[in-house]
Protein backbone atom coordinates (compact mmCIF):
# COMPACT_ATOMS: atom_id res chain seq x y z
CA UNK A 1 0.00 0.00 0.00
CA UNK A 2 1.46 3.29 -1.04
CA UNK A 3 -0.15 5.45 1.60
CA UNK A 4 0.97 4.28 4.98
CA UNK A 5 -0.93 6.90 6.92
CA UNK A 6 -4.32 5.29 7.42
CA UNK A 7 -7.46 7.16 8.26
CA UNK A 8 -7.78 5.43 11.61
CA UNK A 9 -4.26 6.56 12.50
CA UNK A 10 -5.25 10.11 11.66
CA UNK A 11 -8.41 9.90 13.70
CA UNK A 12 -6.32 8.58 16.59
CA UNK A 13 -3.93 11.52 16.21
CA UNK A 14 -6.81 13.96 16.16
CA UNK A 15 -8.30 12.37 19.27
CA UNK A 16 -5.02 12.64 21.13
CA UNK A 17 -4.66 16.26 20.11
CA UNK A 18 -8.22 17.04 21.12
CA UNK A 19 -7.83 15.44 24.52
CA UNK A 20 -4.48 17.15 25.05
CA UNK A 21 -6.13 20.46 24.43
CA UNK A 22 -8.70 19.97 27.14
CA UNK A 23 -12.33 20.89 27.31
CA UNK A 24 -13.44 24.36 26.34
CA UNK A 25 -16.36 24.58 28.73
CA UNK A 26 -14.65 24.16 32.07
CA UNK A 27 -15.88 26.41 34.87
CA UNK A 28 -13.75 29.51 35.35
CA UNK A 29 -12.87 32.00 38.05
CA UNK A 30 -14.96 32.56 41.15
CA UNK A 31 -17.00 35.72 41.03
CA UNK A 32 -19.39 35.61 43.99
CA UNK A 33 -18.71 35.77 47.71
CA UNK A 34 -19.67 32.54 49.51
CA UNK A 35 -22.83 33.92 51.05
CA UNK A 36 -24.32 35.18 47.82
CA UNK A 37 -26.87 33.30 45.73
CA UNK A 38 -26.61 32.36 42.15
CA UNK A 39 -26.76 35.18 39.60
CA UNK A 40 -27.17 35.28 35.83
CA UNK A 41 -25.66 37.81 33.46
CA UNK A 42 -24.93 38.48 29.77
CA UNK A 43 -28.02 36.72 28.48
CA UNK A 44 -28.25 36.88 24.70
CA UNK A 45 -29.68 35.04 21.72
CA UNK A 46 -28.82 34.95 18.07
CA UNK A 47 -31.34 36.57 15.73
CA UNK A 48 -33.41 34.13 13.71
CA UNK A 49 -32.03 33.35 10.28
CA UNK A 50 -35.28 33.95 8.46
CA UNK A 51 -35.05 37.11 6.48
CA UNK A 52 -38.07 37.47 4.21
CA UNK A 53 -36.93 37.98 0.65
CA UNK A 54 -39.51 39.32 -1.76
CA UNK A 55 -37.20 38.84 -4.74
CA UNK A 56 -37.78 35.10 -4.54
CA UNK A 57 -40.73 33.78 -6.49
CA UNK A 58 -41.79 31.55 -3.68
CA UNK A 59 -45.19 29.89 -4.00
CA UNK A 60 -47.30 30.47 -0.91
CA UNK A 61 -47.63 26.75 -0.32
CA UNK A 62 -43.86 26.38 -0.04
CA UNK A 63 -43.72 29.13 2.52
CA UNK A 64 -46.39 27.46 4.60
CA UNK A 65 -44.57 24.16 4.63
CA UNK A 66 -41.29 25.61 5.74
CA UNK A 67 -40.12 24.41 9.13
CA UNK A 68 -39.81 27.15 11.71
CA UNK A 69 -36.24 28.27 12.34
CA UNK A 70 -34.28 27.55 15.50
CA UNK A 71 -31.99 29.66 17.63
CA UNK A 72 -30.08 29.48 20.90
CA UNK A 73 -29.72 31.46 24.12
CA UNK A 74 -26.39 31.96 25.87
CA UNK A 75 -25.50 33.40 29.29
CA UNK A 76 -23.16 33.43 32.23
CA UNK A 77 -24.35 31.70 35.39
CA UNK A 78 -22.38 32.80 38.41
CA UNK A 79 -22.61 30.04 40.97
CA UNK A 80 -23.48 30.93 44.54
CA UNK A 81 -22.32 29.37 47.80
CA UNK A 82 -23.57 25.94 46.90
CA UNK A 83 -23.47 23.87 43.75
CA UNK A 84 -26.69 23.95 41.78
CA UNK A 85 -28.14 22.61 38.56
CA UNK A 86 -30.00 24.24 35.68
CA UNK A 87 -32.78 21.76 34.99
CA UNK A 88 -35.19 23.53 32.69
CA UNK A 89 -35.63 26.57 30.46
CA UNK A 90 -38.86 27.96 29.05
CA UNK A 91 -39.78 30.78 26.71
CA UNK A 92 -42.83 31.83 24.77
CA UNK A 93 -40.82 32.58 21.63
CA UNK A 94 -40.34 28.95 20.63
CA UNK A 95 -42.45 25.81 20.37
CA UNK A 96 -39.91 23.89 22.43
CA UNK A 97 -37.04 25.00 24.65
CA UNK A 98 -34.36 22.50 25.58
CA UNK A 99 -30.93 22.35 27.17
CA UNK A 100 -28.31 21.23 24.68
CA UNK A 101 -24.58 20.93 24.44
CA UNK A 102 -22.06 20.49 21.67
CA UNK A 103 -19.15 18.13 21.95
CA UNK A 104 -16.20 17.66 19.64
CA UNK A 105 -15.38 14.04 18.99
CA UNK A 106 -12.75 13.02 16.44
CA UNK A 107 -13.09 16.40 14.76
CA UNK A 108 -16.86 15.99 14.48
CA UNK A 109 -19.31 18.32 16.18
CA UNK A 110 -22.08 16.49 17.99
CA UNK A 111 -25.05 18.33 19.42
CA UNK A 112 -26.89 16.54 22.19
CA UNK A 113 -29.78 17.23 24.51
CA UNK A 114 -28.52 17.49 28.08
CA UNK A 115 -30.10 14.81 30.25
CA UNK A 116 -30.60 15.66 33.91
CA UNK A 117 -29.60 19.32 33.75
CA UNK A 118 -26.43 21.41 33.57
CA UNK A 119 -24.26 21.52 36.70
CA UNK A 120 -23.51 24.98 38.08
CA UNK A 121 -20.50 24.75 40.40
CA UNK A 122 -20.34 26.80 43.60
CA UNK A 123 -18.18 29.95 43.48
CA UNK A 124 -17.57 29.60 39.76
CA UNK A 125 -18.96 30.93 36.52
CA UNK A 126 -20.52 28.55 34.07
CA UNK A 127 -20.73 30.05 30.63
CA UNK A 128 -23.30 28.92 28.11
CA UNK A 129 -21.64 29.88 24.84
CA UNK A 130 -21.47 28.98 21.15
CA UNK A 131 -19.85 25.60 20.70
CA UNK A 132 -20.87 24.42 24.16
CA UNK A 133 -23.87 24.45 26.46
CA UNK A 134 -26.84 26.40 25.17
CA UNK A 135 -30.56 26.82 25.66
CA UNK A 136 -31.94 25.70 22.34
CA UNK A 137 -35.04 27.36 20.93
CA UNK A 138 -36.75 24.91 18.59
CA UNK A 139 -39.41 26.15 16.21
CA UNK A 140 -39.44 29.91 16.71
CA UNK A 141 -42.97 31.29 16.93
CA UNK A 142 -41.76 34.80 16.13
CA UNK A 143 -38.86 36.41 14.34
CA UNK A 144 -36.02 37.32 16.69
CA UNK A 145 -34.96 40.79 15.62
CA UNK A 146 -31.59 42.26 16.61
CA UNK A 147 -31.87 44.84 19.39
CA UNK A 148 -35.12 43.43 20.76
CA UNK A 149 -35.43 41.30 23.88
CA UNK A 150 -37.50 38.38 25.15
CA UNK A 151 -38.01 36.60 28.45
CA UNK A 152 -36.58 33.24 29.42
CA UNK A 153 -37.59 31.35 32.55
CA UNK A 154 -34.83 29.23 34.05
CA UNK A 155 -35.44 26.60 36.71
CA UNK A 156 -32.63 25.61 39.02
CA UNK A 157 -32.68 22.64 41.38
CA UNK A 158 -31.93 24.78 44.44
CA UNK A 159 -32.23 28.43 43.45
CA UNK A 160 -35.68 27.83 41.97
CA UNK A 161 -37.13 29.83 39.12
CA UNK A 162 -35.25 32.84 37.73
CA UNK A 163 -36.64 34.96 34.96
CA UNK A 164 -34.07 36.62 32.72
CA UNK A 165 -34.20 38.86 29.67
CA UNK A 166 -32.28 37.84 26.56
CA UNK A 167 -30.92 40.50 24.25
CA UNK A 168 -31.12 39.57 20.58
CA UNK A 169 -27.87 40.03 18.69
CA UNK A 170 -27.48 40.22 14.93
CA UNK A 171 -26.48 37.15 12.93
CA UNK A 172 -23.16 38.68 11.99
CA UNK A 173 -22.03 39.07 15.58
Amino acid sequence: MKYTLTFSAIVAAVTILASACGGAIAPTLPTNPPTQGLTISDVWARASAAKPDSSMNMPASDGMNMPKPNSAVYMKINGGGVADKLVQAESAVAAAVELHTVEMKDGVMQMRQVEGGIDVPAHATLELKPGGFHVMLIGLEQELKPGETFKVKLTFEKAGVKEVVAEIRSLQQ
Binding site: Y3, L5, F7, I10, A13, V14, L17, A18, A20, C21, R46, S48, A49, A50, K51, P52, D53, M56, M58, D62, G63, N65, M66, P67, P69, N70, S71, A72, A95, A96, E98, H100, V102, M104, K105, D106, G107, V108, M109, Q110, M111, R112, Q113, E115, P130, G131, H134, M136, L137, I138, G139, L171, Q172, Q173
Partner: protein, 206 residues
Amino acid sequence: MLGQNQSVMIALALVCALASVGCGPGDRATPMLRGGRLDPPTLAADFTLTDHNGKPFTLSSTRGKVTLLYFGYTSCPDVCPLTLADMAGALQDLGADAQAAQIVFITLDPERDSRQTLQKYVTAFDATNIGLHGTSNEIKQVADAYGVKYKKTPLANSALGYAVDHSAFIYVIDRRGQLRELLPFGTSRQSIASDLKFLINEGDSS
Protein backbone atom coordinates in the same frame (compact mmCIF):
# COMPACT_ATOMS: atom_id res chain seq x y z
CA MET B 1 -13.39 13.30 -7.16
CA LEU B 2 -10.32 13.11 -5.02
CA GLY B 3 -7.93 10.22 -5.12
CA GLN B 4 -6.65 8.60 -1.99
CA ASN B 5 -3.57 10.77 -2.03
CA GLN B 6 -5.68 13.90 -1.77
CA SER B 7 -7.91 12.39 0.90
CA VAL B 8 -4.85 11.70 3.00
CA MET B 9 -3.68 15.27 2.49
CA ILE B 10 -7.05 16.61 3.58
CA ALA B 11 -6.88 14.43 6.68
CA LEU B 12 -3.39 15.73 7.42
CA ALA B 13 -4.52 19.32 7.00
CA LEU B 14 -7.34 18.49 9.39
CA VAL B 15 -4.86 17.35 12.02
CA CYS B 16 -2.83 20.53 11.53
CA ALA B 17 -5.96 22.64 11.71
CA LEU B 18 -6.91 21.14 15.04
CA ALA B 19 -3.38 21.39 16.37
CA SER B 20 -2.75 24.98 15.40
CA VAL B 21 -5.91 26.48 16.74
CA GLY B 22 -6.88 23.97 19.39
CA CYS B 23 -3.63 23.83 21.27
CA GLY B 24 -1.93 26.87 20.64
CA PRO B 25 -0.30 29.65 22.48
CA GLY B 26 2.20 29.39 19.82
CA ASP B 27 5.33 31.12 18.75
CA ARG B 28 4.50 29.59 15.40
CA ALA B 29 6.37 31.09 12.52
CA THR B 30 3.80 33.49 11.15
CA PRO B 31 2.38 31.65 8.18
CA MET B 32 0.28 33.71 5.84
CA LEU B 33 -2.50 31.20 6.20
CA ARG B 34 -3.70 30.34 9.70
CA GLY B 35 -5.41 26.99 9.25
CA GLY B 36 -4.28 23.48 8.37
CA ARG B 37 -2.58 24.09 5.04
CA LEU B 38 -2.43 21.73 2.10
CA ASP B 39 1.09 21.96 0.83
CA PRO B 40 1.32 21.64 -2.10
CA PRO B 41 -2.27 22.72 -2.75
CA THR B 42 -4.47 20.32 -4.67
CA LEU B 43 -7.28 21.07 -7.06
CA ALA B 44 -10.52 21.08 -5.05
CA ALA B 45 -12.80 18.23 -6.10
CA ASP B 46 -15.34 19.64 -8.52
CA PHE B 47 -19.03 18.81 -8.20
CA THR B 48 -22.47 19.95 -9.29
CA LEU B 49 -25.38 20.36 -6.87
CA THR B 50 -28.56 22.47 -6.93
CA ASP B 51 -28.41 26.00 -5.57
CA HIS B 52 -31.03 27.70 -3.40
CA ASN B 53 -32.67 29.18 -6.49
CA GLY B 54 -33.13 25.74 -8.01
CA LYS B 55 -30.34 26.12 -10.57
CA PRO B 56 -27.42 23.75 -11.08
CA PHE B 57 -24.27 25.02 -9.41
CA THR B 58 -20.80 23.76 -10.23
CA LEU B 59 -18.01 24.57 -7.82
CA SER B 60 -15.56 25.47 -10.59
CA SER B 61 -17.89 28.33 -11.55
CA THR B 62 -16.47 30.24 -8.58
CA ARG B 63 -12.97 30.27 -10.13
CA GLY B 64 -11.60 33.77 -9.90
CA LYS B 65 -12.99 34.11 -6.39
CA VAL B 66 -11.72 32.74 -3.10
CA THR B 67 -14.35 30.25 -1.95
CA LEU B 68 -15.22 29.33 1.62
CA LEU B 69 -16.94 25.95 1.54
CA TYR B 70 -18.86 24.78 4.59
CA PHE B 71 -21.01 21.73 5.29
CA GLY B 72 -23.82 21.99 7.86
CA TYR B 73 -27.58 21.99 8.40
CA THR B 74 -30.04 24.78 9.03
CA SER B 75 -31.70 23.31 12.13
CA CYS B 76 -28.31 23.51 13.80
CA PRO B 77 -28.70 26.47 16.17
CA ASP B 78 -25.18 26.83 17.43
CA VAL B 79 -22.09 25.76 15.50
CA CYS B 80 -23.41 26.39 11.97
CA PRO B 81 -24.76 29.91 12.53
CA LEU B 82 -21.64 30.85 14.45
CA THR B 83 -19.42 29.72 11.58
CA LEU B 84 -21.63 31.36 8.95
CA ALA B 85 -21.67 34.55 11.04
CA ASP B 86 -17.88 34.58 11.25
CA MET B 87 -17.51 33.96 7.52
CA ALA B 88 -20.09 36.64 6.65
CA GLY B 89 -18.44 39.02 9.13
CA ALA B 90 -15.08 38.40 7.48
CA LEU B 91 -16.58 39.31 4.12
CA GLN B 92 -17.93 42.53 5.62
CA ASP B 93 -14.46 43.35 6.95
CA LEU B 94 -13.00 42.99 3.46
CA GLY B 95 -15.04 45.88 2.07
CA ALA B 96 -14.80 46.05 -1.72
CA ASP B 97 -12.53 42.97 -1.77
CA ALA B 98 -15.52 40.90 -0.65
CA GLN B 99 -16.56 40.77 -4.30
CA ALA B 100 -13.64 38.40 -4.82
CA ALA B 101 -14.88 35.99 -2.13
CA GLN B 102 -17.78 33.54 -2.09
CA ILE B 103 -19.38 31.61 0.76
CA VAL B 104 -20.90 28.27 -0.22
CA PHE B 105 -22.98 26.29 2.29
CA ILE B 106 -23.83 22.65 1.55
CA THR B 107 -26.61 21.05 3.57
CA LEU B 108 -25.89 17.70 5.19
CA ASP B 109 -29.60 17.40 5.98
CA PRO B 110 -31.28 17.28 2.55
CA GLU B 111 -34.44 15.77 4.11
CA ARG B 112 -35.24 18.83 6.19
CA ASP B 113 -33.43 21.56 4.28
CA SER B 114 -35.57 22.39 1.29
CA ARG B 115 -34.43 24.90 -1.28
CA GLN B 116 -36.64 27.54 0.36
CA THR B 117 -35.32 26.84 3.83
CA LEU B 118 -31.76 27.09 2.54
CA GLN B 119 -32.52 30.30 0.68
CA LYS B 120 -33.86 32.03 3.77
CA TYR B 121 -31.11 30.70 5.97
CA VAL B 122 -27.95 31.36 3.98
CA THR B 123 -28.95 34.76 2.62
CA ALA B 124 -29.81 35.99 6.12
CA PHE B 125 -26.08 35.98 6.88
CA ASP B 126 -24.96 37.55 3.61
CA ALA B 127 -27.06 38.21 0.54
CA THR B 128 -24.33 36.81 -1.74
CA ASN B 129 -24.17 33.43 0.03
CA ILE B 130 -24.97 30.32 -1.96
CA GLY B 131 -26.80 27.39 -0.35
CA LEU B 132 -26.61 23.99 -2.03
CA HIS B 133 -28.69 20.89 -1.75
CA GLY B 134 -29.20 17.65 -3.65
CA THR B 135 -30.25 14.08 -3.08
CA SER B 136 -28.77 12.19 -0.13
CA ASN B 137 -26.50 10.35 -2.56
CA GLU B 138 -25.30 13.50 -4.27
CA ILE B 139 -24.54 15.14 -0.93
CA LYS B 140 -22.72 12.06 0.29
CA GLN B 141 -20.45 11.97 -2.77
CA VAL B 142 -19.38 15.56 -2.24
CA ALA B 143 -18.96 15.14 1.51
CA ASP B 144 -16.83 12.03 0.97
CA ALA B 145 -14.63 13.84 -1.53
CA TYR B 146 -13.83 16.44 1.12
CA GLY B 147 -13.41 13.98 3.97
CA VAL B 148 -16.48 15.36 5.73
CA LYS B 149 -17.84 12.93 8.28
CA TYR B 150 -21.53 13.23 9.12
CA LYS B 151 -24.23 11.14 10.68
CA LYS B 152 -27.91 11.53 11.43
CA THR B 153 -28.35 10.92 15.14
CA PRO B 154 -31.83 10.54 16.70
CA LEU B 155 -32.39 12.66 19.83
CA ALA B 156 -34.86 10.59 21.80
CA ASN B 157 -36.48 13.27 23.96
CA SER B 158 -35.88 16.33 21.81
CA ALA B 159 -38.39 18.23 19.72
CA LEU B 160 -35.61 18.48 17.16
CA GLY B 161 -36.08 14.79 16.32
CA TYR B 162 -32.53 14.28 15.16
CA ALA B 163 -29.23 16.08 14.98
CA VAL B 164 -26.66 15.76 12.24
CA ASP B 165 -23.21 15.19 13.70
CA HIS B 166 -20.72 16.68 11.30
CA SER B 167 -17.17 17.86 10.70
CA ALA B 168 -17.12 21.60 11.22
CA PHE B 169 -14.24 22.78 9.04
CA ILE B 170 -14.23 25.61 6.56
CA TYR B 171 -12.57 24.56 3.30
CA VAL B 172 -10.70 27.46 1.73
CA ILE B 173 -10.34 27.30 -2.06
CA ASP B 174 -8.20 29.84 -3.89
CA ARG B 175 -8.97 31.77 -7.06
CA ARG B 176 -7.50 29.02 -9.23
CA GLY B 177 -9.72 26.38 -7.67
CA GLN B 178 -7.06 24.86 -5.45
CA LEU B 179 -7.87 23.66 -1.94
CA ARG B 180 -5.45 25.61 0.24
CA GLU B 181 -6.42 25.10 3.86
CA LEU B 182 -8.93 23.83 6.39
CA LEU B 183 -10.05 26.20 9.13
CA PRO B 184 -11.25 24.49 12.31
CA PHE B 185 -14.37 25.45 14.23
CA GLY B 186 -13.71 28.56 16.29
CA THR B 187 -11.42 30.31 13.79
CA SER B 188 -12.03 34.00 14.40
CA ARG B 189 -13.65 36.36 11.96
CA GLN B 190 -10.38 38.32 11.92
CA SER B 191 -8.34 35.26 10.96
CA ILE B 192 -10.78 34.32 8.21
CA ALA B 193 -10.66 37.88 6.85
CA SER B 194 -6.86 37.90 6.98
CA ASP B 195 -6.57 34.62 5.06
CA LEU B 196 -9.14 35.77 2.53
CA LYS B 197 -7.26 39.01 1.98
CA PHE B 198 -4.01 37.14 1.46
CA LEU B 199 -5.51 34.75 -1.07
CA ILE B 200 -7.44 37.46 -2.91
CA ASN B 201 -4.32 39.59 -3.38
CA GLU B 202 -2.15 36.60 -4.21
CA GLY B 203 -4.47 35.91 -7.14
CA ASP B 204 -3.50 39.17 -8.81
CA SER B 205 -0.11 37.87 -9.88
CA SER B 206 -1.30 34.67 -11.48
